[in-house]
Amino acid sequence: MNLLRRSVIILMLSLIWPLALSAQSEKVPTASELIAAMDANLTAKTSIVTSRMVVHGRRASRTITSKSWVEGAEKAFTEYLAPPREAGTKMLKLEDQLWTYSPQTDRIIQISGHMLRQSLMGSDLSYQDMMEDQSLEDVYDGVVEGSELLNGRDSWVMTLTAKKEGLAYHRRKAWIDKEWLLPMREELFAKSGKLLKSSYAEEVMQVEGRWYPKVWVFKDELKRNSKGTEWIIDEIAFNQPIPEAQFAKAALRK
C-alpha cells in the first residue's frame, strides 16, 4: 500500500515539476510594464501616416484615404484625400477639442457633445475613439490575467478597469503578443458588461525597428449586421519634424 502511494506521488511530482519550472522561468509582467512596452511600439514624438479606411457597408464597401500628422497623443491633423466627395475635408484635434472643415460649406465646425459619439466617416470608429489621448495607465487599473494562445501565438491577457467615471469604455480586455508587444485583439465593454466594440490586428509590420499594426479591423458590436472597418497603414514615418502651423486652426482652410 505504501509502495503504491509512494509511486503515485512520484508520478504526480514528475508531471507537475516541469510545469512549475516553466512557470518560474517566465516572469509575468505587470500591467504597467505591458502598457509601457506597447506604448514604445505604438507612440512616438511625432508620426506622419498615410492610411486607408475600408468601411464595409451593407450594400457596398467604401475606401477613404487620409493623411495624418500626429504629435504625441494630444495633437492630430487629418486631411481626407479620397473619395472625391470627402476629399478636402480636414479634422484638427487639439487636446479634447475637435474641429472639422468641409470645402462644400467652407466652414470650420467644432464637433462636441453627443456628436462625438457618432460614427467617424461612417466607420465602426467614433470621433470619441479618435479623441482618446489619456494614458491607459492614468485612467485604468490593469491586471495581467495570464497567457493564452491567439491565432497560434502566445499572448498576454490583460484586463483594464476604469479608475474613474465618464470614460467611453469601462473595461477593456486585450490580448498582447508576447514577441511583438502589440495588442492583437481588444474588446471594449460598457459598465453593464455589454460588449461595445472589438478590434484585432490582421497584419503587422516592422517599421524603424518597432512592430506596428499594418491592418487593424474594428467592429462596432452595437451596429447590427456590421461587417467591420479595416484600417490599413500604407505609409508611416516616426519622429519627423512637423511645423507648429500644421496644428493651427488656420491650416484647416488651406
Partner: protein, 426 residues
Amino acid sequence: MLRFLIKGVFRDRSRSLFSIIVITLIVALTVLIRGFMAGIFDDVFRQSAVIFAGHVKVTTRAYAEESDLLPNDLAILGSDSLVAALSEEYPDMFWTPRILFAGLLDIPDEQGETKEQGPMMGFGLDLHSPGSRMVEIWELERKLTRGRLPERPAEVLLGETYAHRLGVEPGDVATFIGASMYGGFVTYNFHVAGTVSLGITGIDKNMLIADLRGVRMALDMQDAAGEIVGYSHDMFYDDEGSVALAVNFNEHVPNPENEFSLVMQALRDHTQMGAMVDISEYAIGLVLFIFMAVTVVVLWNMGLMNGLRRYGEFGMRLAMGETKGHVYRTTLGEAVVIGIAGSFIGTAVALPLVWYLQEIGLDYTGLFEGMTFVLSSIIRARITPDCYYLGFIPGVLATVAGTMLSGRGIYKREMSQLFKELELEA
C-alpha cells in the same frame, strides 16, 4: 293597425313625449360622440400618416427592420421609377418619396464660427414636383409662422420653437452635419426660408423640412429615398383597404428573402398605430353599448311607470277579450314608433352640431400648452356615413328592450281579478 298605433302614440302625449325627449337626447349624444371620436381618430391617423407612416409605406426590408435609426444607407434605389410604377399599379392612392434624416444643425456667427448647435430631425419632402400635395397635406401655408415657403432645393423650414432656440431668422444659413447615404461625413449649408409651427411640441422642437432635391444633394441620395409613402386621395385612412393593399403588394415582391427587397406596411403596422386603429373600432362599439344600457334602464323604468298609469287601460282591453300577447305586441309596436321618432329627431339635432365641429373645430391650444401630442391643436369632428343611422340602434333597440322588460307585467295580470279591479276603478 300601424296608423292606429301612431295616432295613439302622438295624440296621447303622456305616452310619448317624455320617452321621445329621452331618446332624442341619447341618440343626439351617441351621434355627437361618434362624430367627435371619428374626428379625433381621423386627426390622429392623419397626423401620423402625414408625419410618420403614410397610409401605406414602401421601404426595403432592412430599412423597415431598423427604421427607428433612420438608416438611409438601406434606402430604396431607383425610387423615382418605383413611384411611377406604384402610381400606375395603385391609382387609388397618391405616392411620394421622402427621406427622414437626423444630425446636427450648426448656426454660424458673423465670422463663420459656431454660434449655436442642436440635434435635428429632418423631413425631406417632395415640395416642388408638379402635382405634389405635400404643401397641402402638411398644411404648410396655414402653419407658416415667419418667412415664406422654400422655393429652391437648399431652402428649408424650421420648427418655430427650434428656430427660436437656435436664434435663427428667415434668411440665415444653417449648416447640417450628419452622414451621407454611404456613411460619409456630410456638412451642407441650408438657407432658412421660414418657420412653421405644426402644433406638435415633440416635432416642432427640432424639426427641419426641406425639399427632397436639397436633401438628396446633401445626403448623396440621387434617385434614392428612404421611404415611399402612399395616401388615399381623400386623406381618410381606410384600414381594411390599406392592409389589403400591403398584403397584395408583398405577395408580388420578388426575392422577399433579400434584405433589400421591398416591403409595404400599412399605417396599423407601425408602433402603437395598430392598437390605435383597433381602439378606434372598438370605441364606437363601447359607446353604443354604454348608451344602449343606459337607455334600456331609463326606458324600462319609464315603461314601468307607464304600465302603472295605463294599468286600467290594459285591464279594460284584457277584459274586453284582447289577448295578453296582442296587448304586449301593441306596446312593442308603440315602442318602435317612439324609438324611430326619437332617433330621427336626435339624429337631426346632432348632425348640425357635428357638422359645425367638422368645419370649425374646437381649438384646445391653451388647454394643453407644453404637452406633446401627435394631434393638431384644433380637434375636429367628422360626419361619417354611420352617423346617419347609428343613433337608431340605441334609439329603437333600447326602447323596445325597455318596453319588453316593463311589459312583462301584462302577463302577470290575473283574469279573475280583472273585474274586481275594474269595479274598484269605476
